[in-house]
């Protein structure tokens, strides 16, 4: 039971981080290989607030999001003007800089990691799920707002969006800060539910994993990201028995998806009650017209 709960909490934490990246990558078209860096910042902030300052967990989480967000503003100012590959490489560099900085910071455990971070049980166990639900609602509202439409415009055609009066840099910045805040909060949740953090947890592989989940779910789909985050956290856990072969198949699956189904699970569509109803209605309409034409031919 505890094991299942652990996996569910891990899925919720991953989901929070993935939702931010979904807005950044899926809706704004910016690719990051450094969001594990923001998770690390959030994790260490929350750990410092709860373990060293002895403040409540909620304060730790808010601080985690806040610090990650502020740092992302700085990073964005420096790197958001870079094009394509180069923004990606810059974020990768950022992620790799966070790691050695933490490795050399003895006060928070250095390279060996930091144990004995306060863990929370009881009612607090609901917190990751609550945060995940709030994150879903926030992301959904963001992408359906004016700001969200601007982001999609930037993704589709930057120059045209600019011509139409969209402040491209501002849209990108909002997406980056949003994703960094969520990654920071996810890191904070991770620190206080696992109770142990080490700089090497937040490596490039972790960053890539987050981006891969977004792509797996389908770029430009919040519900796709949700499904993919749950699927890609639970599935590897089920195959833990084949631990060494697990990642072999993971790598293979990534390649096959990229080559075979680049649109991802949802392919930019959303899974909502309305969309399901619409799909059902469309199918019914198609059947009706087919029947009508068949009848017409008979006559």
């Amino acid at each position: 039971m505890e094991y299942i709960l652990g996996i569910l909490i891990l899925s919720a934490i991953n989901l929070v981080a993935v939702l931010g990246l979904s807005v950044l990558t899926g809706f704004t078209g910016l690719f990051s290989f450094g969001h594990a860096g923001f998770m690390a910042i959030g994790a260490y902030t929350s750990a410092i607030v709860t373990a060293r300052l002895h403040l409540p967990f909620a304060v730790g989480l808010l601080a985690a999001g806040l610090v990650a967000g502020i740092i992302s503003i700085g990073l964005g100012r420096l790197t958001l003007k870079l094009k394509g590959d180069y923004f990606c490489i810059a974020t990768m560099g950022f992620g790799e800089i966070v790691k050695p900085l933490l490795n050399n910071w003895k006060w928070v455990g250095g390279a060996r990691g930091w144990e004995s971070i306060p863990k929370y049980g009881g009612i607090s166990l609901l917190l990751p799920f609550a945060v995940a639900v709030i994150a879903v609602i926030l992301s959904w509202n963001l992408i359906n707002s004016r700001q969200g439409r601007n982001m999609v415009a930037v993704r589709e055609e930057e120059l045209a969006a600019q011509m139409a009066g969209v402040n491209v840099l501002r849209s990108k910045m909002i997406a980056l800060v949003f994703s960094a805040v969520l990654a920071g909060i996810a890191g904070g949740l991770m620190a206080n539910f696992i109770g142990f953090i080490a700089p090497k947890t937040f490596n490039m592989v972790k960053s890539t994993e987050l981006t891969i989940i977004v792509i797996f779910g389908g770029l430009g789909s919040i519900s796709g990201s949700v499904v993919a985050a749950l699927l890609l956290t639970v599935l590897p856990e089920l195959f833990r028995a084949f631990s060494s072969w697990r990642l072999v198949f993971y790598g293979l699956a990534v390649m096959i998806i990229m080559i075979g189904r680049p649109k991802g699970l949802m392919g930019g569509l959303e899974l909502t009650p309305t969309s399901l109803r619409k799909a059902a209605a469309a199918r019914k309409a198609k059947r009706d017209t087919a029947a009508a034409t068949a009848e017409g031919e008979k006559r």
Binding site: L78, T79, K83, D85, C88, I89, E158, M204, L247, P262
Partner: protein, 292 residues
């Protein structure tokens, strides 16, 4: 002064092997405009191929180099055909290439961990122990070998690119792939050759790296440094990759020597970010124009 010269020598030796790895990244980038993150894993496979040719097959070390180079060239070409060709045919954006490369890298690294295991392996001793002394400066034999072999390979590569018909075709393709196809250049062939060359150099670099340190599945992650070198020098530019690699090697050894080895990676990545902010196209890269 002697210490400084010593660091300089060490830096050049590390830099030369970074150069050998960096040109692989740069060559592929110049043609296909994406960072081939699977290159590090190919380097790692080269190290294992060299190790097993010497221990299992009992080949002399120079034959091990050739065996590793041929093996990795084949692996790189097969990887291109299976993983990148479908994306090219679909005209996918750079992101799909990068993620596919990452997937390939995860696949190869973990395949080696699952089959061979994570324990590091030592190359059989090839060179006599004890450094060659020039006054107060000690030059390790393996370091000298690294420098000489890298220099020969890179010189051969530059001659190939500059003075052969195929080399000219590579240059033309990197300038403009579409126009080159219209001029009758077989760009598929060019890509094939580029991956074969990059792969062969990766194999040699892997064997050298394994001889200097050890052979282990995570070598690919360490080669990220040579990727920094390629970006620093200017992605897509061969002389840039060489220069960037030598500068990075020197900076790394100077930082380790005078500050602390713990700051080595930090400084390397700081250089990367600073360069991207100040001049994204690197020291000698093509000017990154907006292709909107």
């Amino acid at each position: 002064m002697a210490q400084f010269l010593q660091q300089l020598v060490n830096g050049l030796s590390i830099g030369s092997i970074y150069a050998l790895m960096a040109v692989g990244y740069s060559l592929v980038y110049s043609i296909m405009n994406f960072s081939n993150f699977a290159h590090g894993s190919v380097i790692m496979l080269g190290a294992y191929l060299g190790y097993y040719s010497m221990t299992l097959l009992g080949l002399p070390f120079w034959l091990a180099f050739i065996a590793a180079a041929l093996g990795t060239a084949l692996i790189a070409v097969v990887l291109e055909r299976l993983a990148y060709k479908p994306l090219r045919d679909r005209k996918a954006t750079f992101l799909y290439f990068i993620i596919t490369a990452m997937g390939a890298s995860i696949f190869i690294d973990n395949f080696v961990i699952a089959t061979i295991g994570p324990t590091p392996k030592m190359f059989p001793a090839v060179f006599a122990q004890g450094p060659i002394l020039f006054g107060k400066i000690a030059l390790g034999r393996i370091d000298l070998a690294m420098f000489v072999i890298s220099a020969i390979c890179l010189a051969a590569l530059i001659i190939f690119i500059d003075y052969t018909k195929m080399g000219k075709a590579i240059q033309a393709t990197s300038f403009n792939m579409k126009a080159s196809t219209l001029m009758g250049i077989n760009t598929n062939m060019v890509i094939f050759i580029v991956f074969a060359i990059g792969g062969a150099l990766a194999g040699i670099a892997g064997v050298l790296y394994g001889m200097k340190y050890q052979v282990f599945p995570q070598i690919g992650g360490i080669t990220l440094k040579s990727f920094i070198a390629a970006v620093f020098g200017g992605l897509g530019s061969l002389p840039g990759a060489l220069l960037g690699a030598l500068v990075l090697g020197l900076v790394e050894t100077l930082v380790s020597g005078y500050l602390s080895t713990q700051y080595r990676d930090l400084i390397a990545f700081l250089i990367l970010i600073t360069m991207l902010i100040v001049r994204p196209s690197g020291i000698m890269g093509k000017n990154a124009e907006d292709k909107a």
